[in-house]
């Protein structure tokens, strides 16, 4: 099973990179962009076929290492 983890700064924590990209898009005349957030994606190949177990396993990884929950939120997608 594959797990796709997306990590983004929490809403309310200023995302300087997102802001810089937004400015750059503005200057390229992409003027219908309301907000930009830059994050990172971590793709994990798991030796686990049980969805529930995989979710618990990856959640633990996120809490311990993949995200810093002081400033970041994460989402997990299993495929």
């Amino acid at each position: 099973m594959k797990a796709i983890v997306n990590v983004f700064l929490k809403a309310g924590v200023l995302d300087s990179q997102g802001k810089a990209v937004h400015h750059a898009l503005d200057s390229l005349h992409f003027d219908r962009v309301k907000d930009v957030r830059v994050g990172k994606q971590i793709v994990l190949q798991l030796d686990e076929n049980n969805k529930e177990k995989a979710m618990a396993y990856v959640t633990k990884m996120c809490e311990e290492l993949l995200a810093n929950t002081v400033i970041e939120d994460y989402t997990i997608e299993l495929v």
Binding site: L9, V13, L14, S16, Q17, L65, L66, N68, V70, I71
Partner: protein, 224 residues
Amino acid sequence: MKVSILQFPGTNCEFDTQYAFEKLGCDTEIVWHKTESFPSDTDLLVVAGGFSYGDYLRSGAIAKFSPIMKAVVGYAKSGGKVLGICNGFQVLTEARLLPGALKRNEGLHFISKHHHLRVENSDNIFLKKLNKGDIVNIPIAHHDGNYYINKEGLKELETNSQILLRYTDKDGKIENPNGSVESIAGVCNKEKNVFGLMPHPERAMEAVLGSADGIAMLKGFLES
């Protein structure tokens, strides 16, 4: 006095830190992160600056799982004195020994220059040689120095006098180089035995090299 200095792959300030504390008359030892303990007669443990693990994932995120860190956490929890400088500060926040987190600088640039700092609290073993309101001139060199803490956390820092230093100009007026919340450059834990700051006092030990203000800062650890 014995100062143990941690070294991870990518650490690059361990020898400057060693020089600084030896100049102050301390015995020093550099401790490789793969070992599980450091000298038992350690009076101060320093997590030195640099780029542990290449800053991969997040600055300090991988270093916190190095074998030596269990001993560091145990030492800190039992009241041992710990100082994290720059990347060391990042490691200590990642290990939750200090509150908050360090984000990418607001302007997205790596900043390397001398910066003035204002002492916010000196009723602690680190800054006791200085007075509240004193201005020091100390180099900063970081990409991820943008200190973040939420509103409740900030209130707690203020209530417990945990804010050590703020970035200012030479007259003590706030001048924020990296977007840090409230221009914060360094904090300590509630118990006041774990200290972290982004600026490098160990690089300000010789007037001929620009500033010797780091001496008064690091000296605080000597008499306690």
